[in-house]
């Protein structure tokens, strides 16, 4: 039960962040470690800033 609640909460947080254009940080770090070990891993703050800028450059993004 406790485990279920924890995973439900983490999914809710992930959804909320994704709705604001911020993908999962842990996934990104894992991706960097697995595929690009030569690249530096950004801090969450730096990652967040980069994504914040990127969100408002695309086309559309939200509906009427």
């Amino acid at each position: 039960m406790k485990r279920w609640l924890r995973s439900a909460w983490s999914r809710a947080v992930q959804t909320a962040r994704l709705c604001c254009g911020v993908p999962d940080y842990d996934t990104y770090v894992r991706h960097l470690r697995d595929h690009h070990p030569d690249r530096p891993v950004p801090s969450y703050a730096a990652f967040f800033r980069e994504r914040q800028e990127a969100r408002y450059k695309g086309t559309g993004g939200r509906c009427c």
Partner: protein, 694 residues
């Protein structure tokens, strides 16, 4: 072939689906057939849910298996080349939440409220059948098409499948549509805030709140969205509470009391600043607040409808199906299908469905839930908006949504006019409603938002009673709508600016650099000027603006939906699955017919922009003044505005015709070739990818 073998349904499943069908049919029967006595909204809600569930289970699955032939063993873009940023295999519920938050906006809340003038039945039927056979089909098919094409955008897919020229034409249409969307949404805010110090104060308060949140997120607690949103929400609620004192204070109230023109100018100035400033300062924090508030409020509305179970006071069908209604002009066909765009079928979704969402899905088998299911959720929001409007006293509804040119500016005159239409209401009822919600007047607050806010405030007041709470809920609902409309306006202006800079770059290369201040300011000014022109025109319009601009928006949005469905039709033929061509083909054809006939009526005939322009021009030639123009210059402006609107309608009609021509040509060619000619990425098995499922 990699299709799933179909498993025969178990007896228990069969019994379940037959009973859902029976319950749904019974509820729909009650909604459609009971006349003379008012019915409870729960019948309507239950009927809709049954239709959605059955549509999802049967029609959605039919499209998935037979038309699109989605394959759970095939690698999605997120699995083919995950990058941790844009292409990320994500849990399907997370993708669903993200997709729904991106497609749900003000559209499904406004259209159904306006359409309630014809009674609740026409709107309900169009939302239910429109979403199952057109809207959800469009979202789902475009999502699936993009999934098979590395998550490419609608414009890119149109260029690939139909050709370069039709792709460019469609993207030009999207830019024009966006300007109309921004103008009409901003106008909804103007209508809601006109001479409402309380509302204006709370909306203005969101600016310092957002700045504070932006600074907090940048330096104090970087990236802590949840924390900062909770702080922001608390400050917003405090602003609503304090707004009552602003409205009641003789010193403060005049500072926040504006007419429509002044508000239009303020919004134009604000939109310019918000999209020029760095995004972290104003735009992003507002976006977070509005996203969470939107989801929270939609949930609250659903809860309120279930708990309060209101009776629908509006008739099932009113006399205004004959086209003489005060809220918008025109007959049921085609104008009902233009007025309710978002909620039944919305072209804008095809941009979202070919944007972020296809890059997040981990498996093709999840596309139906996100694409088809997400749109059904939006239709449910539209049904709730319709319920909130139809549960108001019809007299109050018409007083709020009719232009002053028809009902006058006093409660007595409005009550008398509306009672003559057959919706008996006393001046007292109108002034009492205004007093309940803490406003000086409810008359001519068109645009859907205030009506929905009154409806919501009543429902919430029923479940959480308390003295003066109704005024709080009303301003809460207004704030929530204004907040996410303004976020759309800011973000849309920015996107429009980038599009304009790209076009300007073709003429003078340096203008293309998004970091260049000259290019930035110039393109933003052009973008704000484009939507600002229509906003200002709406603010001074004799019929109140919404009446004029909403059909233009509906035609443009349905035009885009028609284009998206044409793309889906072309692809089905190119895949040599011609026997299913009707699945996207019939809704595409229907939308072409609706947009063309609405376009024609707005170009020629008694309710056209041309006729309105000619009427004012004729009066001007005789030296007469027609309300609300007060001098010759204003008369001239109304004439010009009507001709501009007519020209724009003509442009949309030409666009639809051109795209239909290109579509038919491509279909005819593909039909004759006896092998598939589509641009899908080749099959790659899921287990051959480097990505890991969530």
């Amino acid at each position: 072939m990699h299709t799933r073998a179909s498993v025969p349904a178990s007896p228990a499943a069969r019994i379940l689906w037959v009973s859902i069908a029976l319950v749904g049919a019974f509820c729909l029967g009650v909604v459609a057939l009971r006349r003379g006595e008012p019915i409870n909204a729960i019948w309507l809600v239950a009927a809709s849910m049954a239709v959605f569930v059955i549509g999802y289970r049967f029609y959605g699955r039919f499209i998935e298996r037979s038309v699109l032939r989605l394959d759970p063993t095939r690698a999605t873009p997120a699995m083919r080349h995950p990058d941790g940023l844009d292409y990320v295999p994500t849990d399907k519920w997370v993708v669903f939440g993200h997709h729904f938050a991106a497609i749900a906006g003000a559209g499904p809340l406004v259209g159904p409220v306006l359409a309630a003038q014809m009674g609740y039945l026409p709107g309900t039927l169009w939302i239910l059948f429109g979403v199952v056979f057109a809207g959800a089909v469009q979202d789902f098919m475009i999502l699936a098409l993009s999934l098979r094409r590395d998550g490419r955008s609608l414009g890119h897919m149109l260029r690939e499948e139909l050709g370069h020229v039709p792709g460019l034409i469609a993207m030009f249409g999207v830019l024009v549509l966006m300007m109309i969307v921004l103008a009409v949404l901003a106008l909804v805010v103007v209508k809601a805030l006109t001479h409402s110090p309380w509302g204006t104060f709370t909306v203005a308060a969101t600016i310092p709140i957002a700045l504070l949140m932006g600074v907090f997120l940048r330096w104090l607690r970087p990236g802590r969205i949840l924390e900062v949103s909770i702080i922001g929400l608390a400050l917003l609620l405090a602003a609503i509470w304090f707004g009552r004192h602003v409205a009641g204070s003789a010193a403060l109230a005049p500072l926040f009391d504006f007419d429509a023109r002044a508000l239009a100018w303020l919004l134009i100035a604000y939109g310019f600043c918000a999209s020029v400033l760095p995004v972290w300062l104003l735009l992003a924090p507002r976006d977070y607040l509005s996203t969470f508030l939107k989801i929270g409020t939609i949930a609250l509305l659903a809860l309120a409808i279930f708990l309060a179970a209101p009776t629908l006071q509006m008739a099932a069908v009113t006399r205004f199906i004959d086209g003489t209604g005060p809220v918008f002009q025109g007959n049921l066909f085609p104008f009902l299908f233009i007025t309710i765009a978002c909620g039944a079928v919305s072209g804008w979704h095809s941009i979202i469905a070919s944007g972020t969402t296809p890059k997040l899905l981990a498996n093709e088998g999840e596309a139906r839930m996100v694409g088809y299911g997400g749109m059904l959720m939006e239709a449910f929001v539209a049904i709730m908006a319709l319920v909130a409007a139809a549960s108001l006293h019809p007299g109050v509804y018409f007083a709020m949504n009719s232009p002053a040119a028809l009902i006058g500016t006093t409660a007595e005159h409005a009550a008398q006019t509306i009672s003559q239409w057959g919706f008996v209401v006393t001046p007292d009822q109108l002034t009492q409603t205004a007093r309940d919600i803490g406003e000086s007047s409810v008359l001519s607050r068109a645009g859907g938002a205030p009506t929905l806010a009154v409806g919501m405030a009543r429902l919430l007041h029923e479940i959480v009673p308390g003295g003066g709470m109704m005024a709080f809920w009303y301003h809460y609902a207004i704030l929530f709508e204004a907040l996410f409309i303004l976020t759309t306006v800011d973000a849309g202006t920015r996107v429009g600016r980038f599009m304009i800079q790209e076009i300007a770059g073709l003429i003078h290369q340096p203008l293309q650099h998004t970091e260049s201040w000259t290019g930035n300011l110039l393109a933003t000014a052009i973008c704000v000027g484009l939507w600002g022109y229509f906003l200002y025109q709406g603010a001074v319009d004799p019929l109140g603006g919404i009446n004029t601009l909403w059909p233009l928006f509906g035609i443009a949005n349905q035009m885009l939906a028609a284009i998206a469905l044409m793309l889906a039709t072309v692809v089905v033929v190119k895949l040599k699955r011609e026997r299913y061509v009707w699945v996207p083909g019939i809704p595409a054809l229907w939308l072409v017919v609706c947009t063309l006939s609405a376009g024609y009526e707005k170009l020629a005939g008694p309710i056209s922009f041309t006729a309105a322009g000619q009427k004012y021009a004729a009066a001007m030639a005789e030296g007469r003044l027609l309300a609300p123009a007060k001098n010759a210059a204003e008369m001239q402006r109304i004439v010009t505005n009507n001709y501009v609107d007519a020209a724009l309608t003509g442009l949309f009609v030409l666009l639809v015709l051109a795209m239909a021509g290109f579509g038919v040509r491509t279909i005819a060619r593909a039909w004759r070739i006896n092998h598939p000619t589509t641009h899908e990425e080749p099959y790659m098995p899921l287990d051959a990818t480097s990505g890991s499922a969530p």
